[in-house]
Amino acid sequence: MAMTQPSPQSGPRLSMRTRRAIWVWAFLALPVLFYSVIRFYPTIDAFRLSFTNWNLLSPPEYVGVQNYRDMFASAEFWQVFRNTFAYLIIGTPISLLLSFTVAYFLDRIRFGHGFLRALYFLPYITTASAMGWVWRWFYQPAPTGVINSVLGSLGMGQLDFLRSTTWALPSIMVTAIWAGLGFQIIILMAGLRSIPQTYYEAARIDGVGEFAILRKITLPLLKPTTVFLVVFSSIGFLRIFDQVYNMTTNDPGGPLGSTKPLVLMIYQTAFNSYQMGAAAAQTVVLFTILLAISLLQLWILRTR
């Protein structure tokens, strides 16, 4: 048989590596373009706008760090800052603890497993505004509000949930935690399922108790899942908006700004006061916080 070697000239002109790169980038081009225009450009432009005074009508006017100076000098900003961190610092651990407890026990039952899981997941796929309004109705004074009616029939005092500067923020936080619970449960259960059963069997034969198994095996092996959820949930709480806006529509972020998070403040500065420069400065602060917190959490929970 004659040996026919393909001559180097007859092969494709581009190397395999180049051809592959072109192919990959052909697919990536569209999303990259899309994100550049609708995500990255506005994000970067926000940094520029934060140094300007702009009311949408006249062109932006450069004012240096005036927006930041005004923001850090205003009492309202620091109130909003405290609120935002209250959502984050209380909301994230409570929601994780709750979802882990539910996932841990839900993972062990067979009867009604699918039904219960669906029940927990339902709030996550429900429109936030609809949910906000239903909870708002729950929190009404008796006889309209379910919770106060129950409290009343038990002979206990009434709570002014959404109209109290003390209770409004926790009341809204409960709604937010409840809304995100289903997602966290699903993710945690997937994490629990991925731990091989033999790890538990080996520990049981070695005589290790349930609590020690949880502490020494389950939690350490669940760490990647936990890291993901901590970061994900923190970002969620730092960006909380829907629940607050819908549950306090009469005075968004009220009473007296006691529930107002950063995102709502940005929204109001931009679209009620039309102070785009100031809103951009607030956005830059939010961005910086999000970045710092995410990096900090990834660093704390890193694999050593």
């Binding site: 091989p196 033999t198 790890y199 069997e201 080996a202 520990a203 049981r204 034969i205 070695d206 005589g207 290790v208 108790g209 020690a212 020494k216 095996i217 350490p220 092996l221 760490k223």
Partner: protein, 346 residues
């Protein structure tokens, strides 16, 4: 140190029975290997002894205590799993020490035991490594180490070598057997590999479909298998089984369904060697030749059956040629054609 005893042990999943009332006594210090094909119930039996599966009927005794309702941790057993079950987030030292998690020993005493187990298993230089930095064989040794430090009454091994390559498996077989010799602890070992069973066991328990077919020392099973399944399962290549008829003490292949089955191990069916007064002679056309080095396996068709025989290493047998193979007196196992139970040898 402990004896294990299974009495009329039954396991059912829902309505499906998987273990049909088996009886077995394992004396103190014995190395028993449960062997059988997938789904024969050997692992389930071991897991019931461990306490990881509930007993549906009958009883399990460890020593003279019935342990049916005893928690795994109260049974004082240690188990080694096929996937090792060593914890990826702990070092080798922590993994081995985890076996002593509940022990009331002092820290120094625990550390001494961990060091001793590691030394015995050749793990000392690896003590501060994570499992991800270990080879399969080393991981399995860590799992054995964790089991060892507890000084349990008995060891349970559930296919511990199945994830290792052939060379490592051969090495670990010897190590585990040596460990048993030194510790003298009762071992129940599950495998589907008959070579592991033959090489390691004091006694082999052959299981099929939730029944024990035969429980006997390896050579006893090899020499006198109780039925066709055991005969074919133990020994490689598998025993040849052909329908046969016996006429005045002379065996010959039979056509169709016969009252007798004749079993001849390939090593007892020789080509090209002089056999005086053979018990059975088979002739046929060669379909394949497999030189193994010291000998050559010759596949041929005879009496409508696929037969494997052995020939000398340099026999020069060609595929397609006709060969005659013969088995000596006392080398042919006879089985009942209907029940497939052994009837003795001829």
């Amino acid at each position: 140190m402990a004896t294990f005893e299974l009495r009329k042990l039954v396991k059912t999943y829902g309505r499906t029975p998987v273990i049909h009332g088996i009886d077995l006594f394992i004396p103190d210090g014995e190395f028993v290997v449960f062997v059988g094909p997938s789904g024969c119930g050997k692992s389930t039996t071991l897991r019931m002894i461990a306490g990881l599966e509930e007993v549906s009927g009958g009883e399990i005794r460890i020593g003279d205590r019935v342990v049916n309702e005893v928690d795994p941790k109260e049974r004082n057993l240690a188990m080694v799993f096929q996937n090792y079950a060593i914890y990826p987030h702990m070092t080798v030292r922590q993994n081995i020490a985890f076996g002593l998690y509940t022990s009331r020993l002092s820290g120094a005493e625990k550390a001494r035991k961990v060091e001793a187990a590691a030394a015995l298993l050749g793990l000392t230089p690896l003590l501060d490594r994570r499992p991800s930095a270990l080879s399969g064989g080393q991981r399995q040794r860590v799992a054995i180490g964790r089991a060892m430090v507890r000084e349990p009454a008995g060891f349970l091994f559930d296919e511990p070598l199945s994830n290792l390559d052939a060379q490592l498996r051969a090495q670990m077989r010897i190590e585990i057997k040596d460990l048993h010799r030194r510790l003298g602890t009762t071992i129940a070992y599950v495998t589907h590999d008959q070579v592991e069973a033959m090489t390691m066991a004091d006694r082999i328990v052959v299981m099929k479909d939730g029944h024990i077919l035969q429980a006997a020392p390896p050579m006893e099973i090899y020499d006198n298998p109780a039925d066709v399944f055991t005969a074919r399962f133990i020994g490689t290549p598998s025993m040849n089984i052909i329908p046969a008829q016996s006429d005045a003490g002379v065996l010959s292949p039979a056509e169709g369904k016969a009252a007798l089955l004749a079993g001849i191990r390939p090593h007892d069916l020789t080509i090209g060697a002089e056999v005086v007064d053979p018990a059975l002679v088979l002739a046929g056309k060669v379909t394949a030749v497999e030189p193994l080095g010291p000998e050559t396996l010759v596949h041929f068709e005879a009496a409508g059956q696929h037969i494997i025989a052995t020939a000398p290493a340099h026999g020069q047998i060609a595929v397609g040629s006709r060969v005659t193979a013969s088995a000596g007196r006392g080398r042919v196992h006879l089985f009942d054609g209907a029940t497939e139970r052994a009837l003795g040898r001829q």
